[in-house]
């Protein structure tokens, strides 16, 4: 899930009695599954929460280019290079759709970018982990895109129209990403001893960070309850994580790889796997900037933005000159 630990604005779910007539009418529309569109009235807290969530999701797509971009120049075949380029291009496109969706809420892409670069806004913790061998590119597609899909498929039904439509477009591409990731893992797992070792190493390093993508248990959070009432969060973090584990374990078995969890066990009664929690201390450290790649990722984005300033300024100046010449000619 690319949006983690989104703090819901407001004070929690209001009872019907406490709602203003506008708020009640708004909630009625949501309960009736009628989409909220940009021009519709909406509570300020709904707007603020959505901006945080969509913005964080957009930033994640953008920063997410970096760990995969790390292997484009080293991709082992032309075909793999082309597939990886297409995937990373998709991710940038996802960022674009999402920034556009956020703009309908009254915040510009530049403002969101400034908030990312100043550290005020976050991106998914997963992209602060390094890609160290080629199988990591497989693991990212299989596990990271896989976890993203788990979260985003339900969000296709989210209450905010532009967000829902962005999710529908994105989900189509994400399933291709997951398949190509799994396909890399297949080749590696069936390959030479060295390739098998790469595949297992990638799974070892990406398993728990993938589980962290869903965020800590949110059972008791009042904030989640409000986001769920607004249908901008559809399932709980734990539900999504369980679904992800249940889907992924058989896939790992099929690959002949071992999930790095001694406590992993099928639980007949609940119809799902029991598994170990990730190390939440590590998770909070990553959020605080202490992950293995936080500094590199932020430096890369800041540098791209600063180095690109003359380009943005130049193109803008040219557009103005052209417009002025056109006016002068008329």
């Amino acid at each position: 899930m690319y949006a983690q630990m989104i703090k819901t604005a407001g004070t929690g779910v209001k009872s019907r009695d406490d709602m203003t007539p506008e708020e009640a009418a708004f909630q009625d529309r949501i309960d009736a599954d009628i989409k909220i569109e940009p021009k519709d009235w909406m509570p300020d807290d709904y707007r603020a929460t959505l901006i945080r969530q969509i913005g964080q999701h957009a930033h994640s797509e953008i920063v997410g280019q970096l760990p995969e971009g790390n292997w484009i120049t080293r991709a082992p075949t032309l075909e793999r290079k082309a597939i990886l380029l297409a995937k990373v291009q998709d991710e940038a496109g996802h960022g674009l759709y999402l920034y556009c969706a956020a703009e309908t809420l009254g915040i510009s892409r530049d403002e969101l970018t400034e908030d990312l670069l100043s550290g005020k806004m976050k991106y998914s913790s997963i992209f602060n982990y390094p890609t160290l061998n080629w199988a990591d590119i497989g693991a990212v597609g299989w596990l990271v895109d896989g976890a993203a899909i788990m979260n985003q498929v339900p969000l296709q039904r989210t209450s905010y129209g532009p967000y829902s439509r962005a999710m529908i477009r994105i989900c189509k591409e994400e399933s291709f990403h997951q398949r190509q990731g799994y396909d890399i893992m297949m080749k590696m797992a069936q390959g030479t001893e060295a390739q098998k070792k790469m595949a297992q190493d990638a799974l070892n390093r990406f398993w728990y960070p993938s589980l962290m993508m869903f965020g800590p248990s949110d059972k008791e959070s009042v904030h989640s309850a409000q986001s769920m009432a607004w249908k901008i969060k559809i399932d709980s973090n734990d539900e999504l994580r369980q679904r992800f584990v249940d889907q992924t374990v058989p896939q790992a078995e099929y690959l002949g790889l071992t999930i790095p969890d001694e406590n992993l066990k099928w639980n007949e009664e609940k119809g799902g796997y029991d598994f170990s929690e990730p190390d939440w201390t590590e998770f909070f450290n990553v959020l605080k900037g202490k992950g293995p790649c936080n500094t590199e990722r932020m430096n890369a984005r800041v540098q791209a933005w600063e180095d690109g300033k003359w380009v943005r300024d130049g193109l803008l100046a040219h557009a103005r000159k052209r417009a002025a010449r056109k006016v002068a000619a008329e």
């Binding site: 953008i62 280019q65 970096l66 971009g69 484009i72 120049t73 080293r74 991709a75 082992p76 075949t77 032309l78 075909e79 793999r80 290079k81 082309a82 380029l85 297409a86 990373v88 291009q89 940038a92 496109g93 960022g95 674009l96 920034y99 892409r109 080629w134 890399i184 080749k187 590696m188 390959g191 030479t192 060295a194 390739q195 890369a300 540098q303 791209a304 933005w305 180095d307 690109g308 300033k309 003359w310 380009v311 943005r312 300024d313 130049g314 193109l315 803008l316 100046a317 040219h318 557009a319 000159k321």
Partner: protein, 251 residues
């Protein structure tokens, strides 16, 4: 004939391979999101074209080498790309200037190759020229926008043109391989494309308010394999690393 054709196809495929590699280095580092998308798209097209050119090269050679074998298992002396495409990215302006200088050549070359007497060559040219029409439009517009932008962007673009222009001439060199291709009607004599290229360059640079250097001196050696820049070895050591470190593996 087939040795000459092989050589010609390697020249085409190595250009797109090495430039595609360079462009892909931008991934995630562009000045603006639309450029990240456009550069990834350009790199993707170039790698796709490489698969076609080098795939055909391997077929023509007839020794069972695939496009991947040619891309990942030859050493620098066997590469036949022009020097222009192996030069470093520099700033975004230098990257886009290099792209335009190459795109404008490639557009003319592919235009002629669509009429090739070799149907396989014509078919690749047909497909690639659709992509390149878009590349040259975009790189040309960007060169104009930045050349005729701010004082700083103008200066940077002029510096890029001054640095890169000495690498333009190599694209129009002719040798025995080219003569054989021209004679067989497979490909045009590169020198015959120069006037149209110069006209295109003059038009775009005038709009960009940039001056084309007077000196027509040209560095050369890449497309004949006589002498590459020092940069190529580093590109290959990155690009070929996995294939070299784990020979015989399937990916």
């Amino acid at each position: 004939m087939s040795a000459d054709l092989f050589e010609f196809l390697c020249r085409m495929g190595d250009n797109t391979l090495i430039l595609g590699h360079r462009v892909s280095e931008w991934c995630g580092h562009s000045p603006v999101l639309e450029e990240d998308i456009a550069l990834a798209n350009t790199a993707l097209d170039l790698i796709g074209q490489t698969q076609l050119w080098l795939g055909l090269a391997g077929e023509v050679e007839g020794q069972g080498r695939s496009a991947d074998d040619l891309a990942f298992l030859r050493d620098a002396w066997d590469f036949r790309n022009v020097l222009l495409v192996e030069l470093p990215n520099g700033d975004f302006g230098q990257t886009l200037m290099r792209q335009f200088l190459f795109d404008a050549w490639q557009e003319l070359m592919l235009g002629a190759l669509k009429e090739s007497s070799d149907a396989r060559v014509a078919e690749i040219a047909e497909k690639a020229s659709k992509e390149v029409a878009y590349h040259v439009e975009r790189s040309g517009d960007t060169v104009i926008g930045l050349g005729d932008g701010t004082e700083e962007s103008h200066q940077r673009m002029q510096a890029a043109l001054d640095y890169l222009y000495p690498y333009v001439g190599e694209m129009f060199e002719s040798d025995a391989v080219d003569a054989a291709m021209a004679k067989a009607g497979i490909a045009p004599d590169p020198a015959s494309l120069r006037d149209a290229y110069d006209a295109r360059l003059a038009q775009v640079m005038a709009e960009a308010t940039l001056s084309i250097p007077d000196d027509r001196f040209a560095h050369a050696g890449g497309r004949t394999g006589r002498m590459h820049t020092e940069h190529l070895g580093h590109i290959l050591s990155t690009m070929q690393w996995l294939q070299r470190a784990y020979p015989g593996a399937t990916w």
